[in-house]
Structures are given as structure tokens and as C-alpha cells.
Symmetry: C2
Subunit: 277 residues, 2 copies
């Protein structure tokens, strides 16, 4: 029986990230069909599973400020184990090392940093993009046949991915601006924000005329949103801006910003993507 059928009262994100304690700082999880990618689960849900292991840890003091997830090998559909190590617990900051293992193989590892934040110096150097409400834009459907895309309500404001013409010019933009929210709606928290931070399609789709094997190799997210910003967001979609600069030698960079209510930056980050030539 699938996990979705066993826990009908839970949101698909909570089902996909539910972990069962199996030993000292060790948990068992299971992939779900909702967040399936071409092979195995979508990277954002793997990131959320790793984050979840920290969020439910008894030693946690504070909220996430940084996450780097490295994707070492594809996660196969089925069960997996997650181990958590608290590498350092300081006065304000905790450093966690988390691993996802399947059949004895490390599929993913992550460093998570959590911290106590206090109000004080407050500055935002740029405004969020000035764009109408999400209801001004249509929900994107069927862009790519990836199951996990249905777990999100994505509305492109600009840069909807489409395979580029074979005559792609050298300065073709790779920028997309899009509203994103969980589908069905779910109030934002650090868990869902972790997954949403990887919900942008790989930038190479915007500039190359063909599709080849590709995937995120490392994803870094910095959580600039404080707990009160996250709570204030509720089920309102966040506004994501994503871009990449250089595509060369089988890799490209990808940077993103996620803006919330009141134009506050909730998260920003950078990822590295591998693609076959």
C-alpha cells in the first residue's frame, strides 16, 4: 500500500518527509509517487527529508539558516535511512551533518546550520520585483512530464522554460520569474521552503534545443526569512527568481531568490547542475 493511502489526512509533503526513528539519531523514510522525478525522487524532496531529520531532533535550538545538499547518487524508489550528527552546538549556532543512505550507499549528504535569531540590525538592500498578484497569472501545466511538478502550483511571470531554438544566441537569457506554492495549499514552513528552493527547472532547459541526462549536483540555500516571516506567509505563493550564468564543460551555475509577503527575502541560494553534452 502506498504511503499516500496510509496517511490520507496528511499533506503529501508531510507524508513524503515523515521519518520513523530506528536507532540513535537514525531514521527511516520512504519515497512517494507525488514527488517522483525522471529517476527516483525530485531533489527538493530529498533536501526536505534531510532537513526534516534536523527539524525533529530533540537537540534543535533555533531555526534553519543554511543548507547545502549534495546529491551523490540517485535515490531509488523505496525506503532509505537518514543519520544525523550534531557536529557543533554553540551559543547561537548549531552545525548538523546529515546523510541519506540506501542499500549501504550514501545517496546524499547535507550540512544544515540552525541558529537563534534576535531582532536588531535590519536592512534590505533591494526591493522584491514589482509584479502583480499571483492571480494575474495562469497556472502552468504540462511544461514537462515530471510528476513532482504537479505537487506545486507554478505560475510563470517571465521566462517560462521551453526548449530553445537550435539557433540559440549566445546571450539568450536564462532568467525565470514565477509564483510557487504547494499543491494542494499548505502553510509555508522551513520544511516546505526547503523543497520549494529546488522547485525551479534547470536553467539549461531555457537555452538548449535538446534534452540529455542532467541533474543538480549540489544545492545551497540560505534562509534569510525569520520565523515570523515564514509564519506570516501562510498559504500565499512565494515569488521566485532564478537565473544561471555560465554553461560550459558539462556544468552550469544556478542562483535563486525567494520573496515573501511584504517584499521580504525569505531565501536565496546557488546550485550546481551537471548536464551531458
Amino acid at each position: 500500500m502506498s504511503r499516500e493511502n496510509l496517511m490520507p489526512e496528511l499533506h503529501p509533503l508531510d507524508i513524503a518527509t515523515s521519518l520513523i526513528l530506528t536507532g540513535d539519531d537514525t531514521y527511516r523514510g520512504q519515497t512517494t509517487k507525488t514527488y517522483a522525478n525522471v529517476i527516483g525522487p525530485y531533489g527538493g524532496i530529498t533536501a526536505a527529508c534531510l532537513m526534516q531529520a534536523v527539524l525533529i531532533d530533540r537537540r534543535l535550538a533555533g531555526t534553519p539558516v543554511s543548507l547545502t545538499v549534495n546529491l551523490l547518487a540517485a535515490v531509488a524508489d523505496g525506503e532509505f535511512d537518514i543519520t544525523v550528527k550534531l557536529a557543533r552546538s554553540g551559543k547561537y549556532i548549531q552545525h548538523w551533518s546529515v546523510e541519506l543512505v540506501q542499500n549501504g550507499r550514501i545517496c546524499s549528504n547535507a550540512s544544515v546550520i540552525t541558529a537563534l535569531r534576535e531582532a536588531g540590525f535590519d536592512h534590505q538592500s533591494v526591493d522584491a520585483p514589482a509584479i502583480g498578484p499571483h492571480t494575474d497569472f495562469d497556472r502552468s501545466t504540462g511544461v514537462f512530464p515530471l510528476p513532482w511538478l504537479n505537487a506545486y502550483d507554478i505560475r510563470f511571470v517571465e521566462g517560462a522554460p521551453a526548449f530553445a531554438s537550435a539557433l540559440c544566441t549566445s546571450k539568450l537569457s536564462t532568467r525565470s520569474v514565477q509564483y510557487v506554492s504547494d499543491n494542494p495549499p499548505r502553510p509555508l514552513d522551513y520544511l516546505s521552503l526547503t523543497a520549494i528552493a529546488d522547485s525551479f527547472l534547470l536553467r539549461i532547459f531555457n537555452v538548449r534545443a535538446k534534452s540529455t541526462p542532467m541533474g543538480s549536483v549540489s544545492i545551497t540555500t540560505h534562509f534569510t526569512g525569520a520565523p515570523e516571516d515564514i509564519a506570516a506567509q501562510g498559504i500565499e505563493p512565494v515569488l521566485g527568481v532564478v537565473d544561471g550564468i555560465r554553461f560550459h564543460g558539462n556544468f552550469h551555475d544556478q542562483n535563486m531568490q525567494i520573496w515573501g509577503r511584504g517584499g521580504k527575502l525569505l531565501a536565496t541560494g546557488s546550485q550546481l547542475v551537471w548536464f551531458k553534452n
Copy 2:
């Protein structure tokens, strides 16, 4: 006797990152005065020491594509040990986990990703900033009394850090554009690029009227420059662009791009900075 006196023929960067094998995949290093920060060594040189342990590893196949360094605790002046683990070695990509330990305490850990790159799809979506040569700008001296700043030739094009007025407006820019090279000159390689990627002053200096304890917590660098780009750079300064968006609750984000000869993007990344209110 200081390391600098023991190895007079070497560049200060090579002295500071020289590691002695002390066991299976374990090395000993030592801090140097050249790269001293307020307390212990500057984060960029710690990053370079961690990278060095991978660069000299017998199992290495390829060149760096990604690095995330977490700074858990201050490194004290003196010796330290670095251990390297090859977590995964695939057909194209290797994942390394590296730790810097001092007196039994993990001071820093890193995930390094190296890869074989092949020429093929090539695209750059934006041009490097159009700016005159580095000789058009004066070398910055005495901005802040940090010893490691003398290990670089930094020439500000815009956004030279200076404590902001106490009347700092909410949208004050935190962007700086600067030429950077090793001082004395040294041909660019992945080792020096790793350090240079953290040579930008923390953005909060540009917007806050006072100085309090602060430091990088996590630094992620993606190396978009291929070996031929790095080799072509020689001793010519790279052009760095750095910015931050949100400063709130004791943390701020900081993003950077490093441009090389021919306007090619050599590296990009994001870091998270902690500051006391």
C-alpha cells in the same frame, strides 16, 4: 621559526596551504601570519587548505566544480589536522568530505565536488561588467586593519566598503565591484581561486555604522571556470562582483561572481554571514 622563514622560495599562499601527510588520508597544516584575521586565519585560507587536501589526493580525477565550507569554530593560530574522505567516485563526478580538526574539535568541514569536464554545449547568458583594465584603478590600502588584506591587491571599481552613516537608508546598496589578485602575484589556479572567492569584505560593512563581532558561517563556491580558463588567467587580476540582499536576525546573505579573461565567469557562489546586533 615561522613557516614563511622556513620556505622562503614559496609564495605565501603555497606556504599557508602546504600539508604534510601524517596518516591515511590525514594531513597536518599550520596557520601563517600572512593570512591572519581578527581571530585566527581568514576564512578564505581555511577554505584553500581544505581544497588543497583534495587537490593533492592520489585518487583525484578531474578539477573542482563545487565547494561548501562550514566554519564551525575559530581556528587558533598553530597546527591543525585535515582528514579527507572520498564519499563517492562516479564516472564523471567525485564527492569529497573534508574536516579540519584542532585539539580534538572540528573547526571546519567541507564538501568538495570534483569532475571531469568535456567541451560541448557552451553558453554564457550575460556579459561580464564593462569596466576598464585594473591599471585604471588604485590599489586599496588600509581599508581595515586585517593582515590578510595585504595578501591581496584589491582595487575597488565601485562600492569600496566604508562604515555607513548612522542614517543609512533602507535601500542603501551593498554591492562592490573590485579587481583582485594575489600579492605578490601568483598565476591563478583552483587553489588561489578558492581563497579569492572569500576575499570580499562582509557586506554589512557597507551598510552599518558600527562594527560588532561577525563572521562567515558557510561559504559555497561553484567553479564555472574550466582548467583552460584558469590557466589563461595567469597573474592577471580577476574582476569580482559581490552583493547581499537581506540583513536581519543576526544573519545576512552574500553572493558573488568572479570574472576572468575574455569576460568568462570563473566562479560564483553564495555565503551566509553571522553578525552580532
